[in-house]
Symmetry: C2
Subunit: 193 residues, 2 copies
DNA sequence: CTTATTTTAGAACAATCGTTATAAAATTCG
DNA sequence: CGAATTTTATAACGATTGTTCTAAAATAAG
């Protein structure tokens, strides 16, 4: 019927994602996105809608690529190792981050304007997903004795979620090895049986 | 010599702070600040410099009023109570926050453009101040036996700093009592002797 | 080939951005 | 009072914002 697209939707989303990730929503202009994606304003609007919609789709893409897949990989490990691998991974990502972009999801949590309920719900849901992953892993570890059972798994998961989030924020301003490793080292007292 | 100012510098800073706090740097326009402070563009530029300078002074004002004074109040308590009061306070502030503004310092950590080294250093230094407060308090508690000595005080302080930061971020997107209280509840396993 | 439909390219839009120029109003010192 | 000086108020500046319009290019179906 009509002329086919010259671009790959996923690649464009990746390019937009990278720019939003590095600069945040407000600081990224439509012209930045045009430059990064290589296509024109009309094409962007035609394919993705307005700026906010493009941001949302970029964030979804990031969550899928950068979080969901990682969780899936951890689920194959025994609970204790899953937790350790997970936090080791957070450490690596935070330290090998020359631009100090941090985690796009955590950035989004503060980047979102308070009145944008929809986007906030999206971020909240992903965080809830992380929390239930942690909770299930902890509960499994408590069942097999590899993780301390002094506290309810739900509370421990919330604690770990806070540590995870905090590290991602701290790393943006103070990307110091000692700081980040110290923050997770004391986790031993929480999870050791 | 000349006409005196019609405004109180501190009050203006408070008004600007409130706006920056609620909306962030980028999303706050000079016209917003004119509206909130009640004075004109020329007066603002004359008294405080450009927008970034005004933001920095607002943040300094916030740190002085909202953090330094609180730390000073905690220093008078015995170490264990100081920590508990501190985190209880964080919980209160996060839950009694109808606008979900969070902590302006934490917001600033992600709000700051990555190239603005100066402002980033400022934020980093305040965070370092928090860390040394926590570290000294923990060390004192370890000395008098009220706080567990299993981990070095420095690492525990880093852990607590991450929890603190994380809570402030989580509260903006998920201001749920159970989540925030659960995150601090598991701190017992870290600090209990 | 023609027609229909969609994507392109690039200019153009009004609105808003941070900032400054201009001149009137207000005060202290001589 | 008059001179000097600073703060006010208002309007305006060019630049950039997100978004859309116009027309040319390109393909699939008839």
């Amino acid at each position: 019927m009509a002329r086919p697209r010259e671009f790959d939707e996923q690649e464009v989303l990746n390019a937009a994602l990278e720019r939003f990730w590095a600069q945040g929503f407000d600081a990224t202009s439509m012209r930045d996105l045009i430059e990064s994606t290589g296509l024109t304003a009309a094409s962007l609007y035609n394919a993705f809608g307005d700026k906010r919609a493009l941001y949302r789709k970029s964030l979804d893409h990031y969550v899928q690529r950068g979080i969901r897949e990682r969780l899936a990989r951890c689920r194959d490990l025994p609970p204790r190792q899953a937790l350790e691998a997970f936090f080791q991974d957070v450490l690596c990502r935070s330290l090998e981050d020359p631009q100090h972009k941090g985690c796009m999801l955590v950035n989004a949590a503060l980047d979102v304007p308070p009145e944008d309920t929809e986007l906030r719900q999206t971020v909240a849901e992903v965080l809830r997903g992380l929390e239930t992953f942690l909770c299930q892993t902890i509960a499994a570890g408590q069942a097999d004795g590899s993780i301390r059972a002094g506290q309810p798994a739900a509370d421990m998961a919330r604690h770990l979620l806070a540590v995870l989030t905090g590290i991602r924020v701290l790393a943006r301003v103070r990307p110091e090895k000692a700081l980040l490793e110290g923050a997770v080292a004391s986790l031993q007292d929480v999870i050791n049986p």
